[in-house]
């Protein structure tokens, strides 16, 4: 074999006709009843994007209201509902399913050389569970809304006179959607790898999704039982979390964070996976420390079960518990530090293509360093006593959830867009949008770090006047950010109708997802591929495929 032929036996099928997963069948039922992982992924993509836009609109309302200390727009009750909706939509409907269920579904079987996920019907079921959960969330809004914060802390969530049961049911169902997706991916990774594709030849995106899936399967049921208990409390007053009845609200906090801390890694590990792919492909360089990155995902997945108490440093835990939780929190930072440094080392001396996915990736690397390091500050016991429940925490988690995960999601979206649809978006607009988002994002959340460290508490509909300049700066930043996001969705949609044809292998990737025809046919590969070489071996790259437009 010459250096320019991939060490893989696939019939790239570039010339075998024009049917692909998008056009091989048509009609409503061919989508609504599809078992094809790519179509399901696409439907998820539409769903989570809508959830993101809805959550984003709630965010803009929050920011507008906080323009003035007395609250510019809403009554306090309404404000409380809006930030709760913002948090709940973003977390449960957007960021948890976002990457695994949409891009993961789309790409994971391709990367493994499989025809589909292992359990396609379960996959479709997960999607409809997601839809049901979303419908219940909408219903809860119409039924009067809910104002508990996304954390549903008892006993307030037991007393408040609002639609808590329906949203609880919604979250329960969304939880099972997430569990089934994770389960499916674990089985797929174990059982459907192409011949020759050993564990350490799998792309790191697969490793990341695999680690995520373990967390989904093991942590989510605890959330399920927790919201079920809240619903039981509200209907039958059994008293488990209600202090008036001998229950303990702190137990609720333990239950909630036992899920919700691992959940933050459910959100971020897939983002790490995307970044690993993008860093390598757009630097055209094998990943530095491949095995360390793969193992650190697993290490994070395991340690993250043991640190939930760092959300409860002010709740009056025993000093021993505080000691252990703080200690382990620092421990979880180390595998993450290894990843971050490995990515930076991959970029170094690469052949760096500054295209839009790479720009989002670089933005991620910078923003995640801030977001993660401020998490480390929050893990310090005595400092967290001061910063807990202030805007400092709000800024921390937006740096990771919006600035890192959402940007990684955007990176992945731009990276695989040509693969998914066979068209390219407008690159100049893409670069512009990335710049606007980067600037707007930092303008929104840097002021929040400052006012948070000065004591501005979160979930405040009204605030002391001395914090006003920071709030106003933040609001302006959010408007800029909103423009960037709107622009991005705009040109992405436009490309579907008027985009140029993409290349067979738009960026020059050497993983299996780039070796099927673009867009892929129904069962992904015309023949089960056989993997021969090492992973991320760019000497095998067939440069012609990066210059051949899709047929």
């Amino acid at each position: 074999m010459t250096t320019h032929t991939p060490h893989v036996d696939v019939h790239s099928g570039a010339h075998t006709g024009t049917t692909n997963y998008l056009n091989n069948t048509s009609g409503f039922m061919s989508w609504a009843g599809t078992l094809d992982h790519k179509r399901i992924g696409l439907m998820y993509l539409i769903g989570v994007s809508m959830a993101f836009l809805a959550g984003g609109i709630f965010a803009l309302l929050v920011r507008l209201h906080l323009w003035s200390p007395d609250g510019a727009l809403f009554t306090n009750e309404a404000y409380n509902q809006i930030f709760t909706l913002h948090g709940a939509f973003m977390v449960f409907l957007f960021v948890i399913p976002a990457i695994p269920a949409s891009l993961g579904n789309m790409v994971l079987p391709l990367m493994l050389g499989a025809k589909d996920v292992a359990l396609p019907r379960l996959n479709l079921l997960s999607f409809y569970l997601w839809v049901t959960g979303a419908a219940l969330a909408m219903y809860s809004i119409l039924a009067g809304g809910f104002d508990t914060g996304w954390t549903f802390y008892a006993p307030y969530s037991l007393y408040t006179n609002q639609a808590v049961i329906s949203i609880g049911l919604g979250i329960f169902i969304l939880g099972f959607s997430s569990i089934f997706t994770g389960l499916n991916f674990i089985v797929t990774t174990h059982k459907l790898r192409a011949p020759g594709l050993t564990w350490f030849r799998m792309p790191l995106f697969v490793w990341a999704i695999y680690a995520t899936s373990i967390l989904q399967v093991l942590a989510t049921p605890v959330l399920g039982i927790t919201v079920a208990l809240v619903a039981l409390e509200r209907t039958y007053h059994i008293g488990i979390f209600d202090p008036r009845l001998g229950g303990d609200p702190v137990l609720f906090e333990h239950f909630f964070w036992f899920y919700s801390h691992p959940a933050v890694y459910i959100m971020v590990l897939p983002a790490f996976g995307i970044i690993s792919e993008c860093v390598s492909v757009h630097s055209r360089k094998p990943l530095f420390g491949y095995k360390m990155i793969a193992f650190s995902s697993l290490a994070i997945a395991i340690i993250s079960f043991l640190v939930w108490g760092h959300h409860m440093f002010t709740s009056g835990q025993s000093t021993y518990a505080m000691f252990a939780f703080s200690f382990l929190t620092f421990f979880v930072a180390i595998p993450t530090a290894i990843k971050e440094f490995s990515w930076v080392a991959t970029v170094w001396k690469g052949s760096i293509d500054l295209n839009s996915p790479m720009l989002y990736t670089l933005a991620f690397l910078i923003i995640f360093a801030i977001g993660g390091l401020t998490g480390v500050i929050l893990g310090v016991l005595n400092v967290d006593i001061h910063l807990h429940d202030t805007y400092y925490v709000v800024a921390h988690f937006h740096y990771v959830m919006m600035g890192s995960i959402s940007l990684a999601f955007f990176a992945g979206l731009h990276h695989w867009w040509p693969k998914m649809f066979g068209v390219m978006y407008n690159e100049s607009l893409a670069k512009l949008a990335c710049a606007i988002i980067f600037i707007g994002f930092n303008a929104t959340f840097i002021p929040q770090f400052i006012m948070g460290s000065r004591g501005m508490p979160r979930r405040y509909a009204e605030y002391a006047a001395e914090y006003q300049p920071f709030h106003q700066a933040s609001t302006i930043g959010a408007m800029i950010l909103g423009c960037g996001v709107a622009l991005m969705f705009g040109y992405l949609l436009a490309s579907l109708f008027a985009g140029k044809k993409a290349m067979q292998n738009q960026w020059g990737g050497v993983t299996l997802d780039w070796m099927t025809p673009t867009p892929p046919p129904l069962e992904n590969f015309h023949q089960t591929p056989v993997w021969r070489g090492e992973v991320y071996d760019y000497s095998t790259l067939d440069l012609r495929s990066t210059q051949t437009p899709v047929s």
Binding site: G149, P249, V250, I334, K349, I352, N382, Y463
Partner: protein, 336 residues
Amino acid sequence: MFAHLFQTPQEPQKSFYVADQGVDAWGQLTPLASTFDHVDHVFYFTMWMCVFFFVLIAAVLGWSVLKYRRVRFDQPAASNVTHNTPLEVVWTVIPLILVMIIFAWGWKGSLDMAVAPQDARNYKATAAQWSWTFRYHNDPGSSLNELWLEVDKPAAFTLESKDVLHAFFIPSMRCKRDVVPGRNQRIWFTPTRLGDYHLFCAEYCGKDHSLMYAKVHVVTAEQYGKRPWDTEDPDPKVNGQRTYEALCKSCHAVAGPNTAIAPSWFGLYGKSEAVIEGGQEKTITVDDAYLIESIRNPSAKIVKGYESAGRMSPFDQGQVSDRKLGFIIEYIKSLK
């Protein structure tokens, strides 16, 4: 359809914050006014550590992008190195050492914050939706949404909640503790600077969470000795009104008709009212006895029409002494 969500121009939301101490320099924490300066030390140390790593990462990325940018489409990477064990060990071990240092430092500091000194003065703070009541050592007096402390004298609090979770947070003192119903928690600090400070409720507790605010006055021993928290106005109506502002205002109106949340106090005294008692409807006349019962045990008689509204939680002696209750009644009488 959504009109009820918005503030109406006639009734702007009124916050009772007053900006105090002016605005401090950018980039500083709130002025530290307690002995817990280790919080700031660890914070700044960690912050500069973060800045260092952040700059390091940004610099390497920036340099790489400038130097190794792809200019030809077939340009290969300048290096294909995939491992460098010494480097990887270094970047694992150095962060590990650093985080262990800050962990230990923060742990030591938090031990210091855990145990109050022997000579601390005891206070009790009672949180209820949405107000703070403070009681002073063994003194019968109490104060609402205002707290007086003596400078340089350790103050130890017992925190009690009447309803849901709240949190006791004084940013300038670097201290915070959740107030958990059913578990009386403790917190202490020593105020070291004269002045007025914010006390916030930092745990979400419902509608007026953001208005659950108290002002902390750190005063000299001499001023403290004068028991400012007990000062009463000669006019009982004025005292009653103060309590109203702090405890009752979020639900009860004093002008105009009943709202959806609670009956109005306007023209209430002497009026005859239909109430539900133990499932039975009856008509009573609003008098002292009825008002006292309604405050001490609000569920006993529910005004008709509020059967399904949220219940007011009872106010006991600690929060509203009998004396204060009398003032409130005088105030209600005056609302005509």
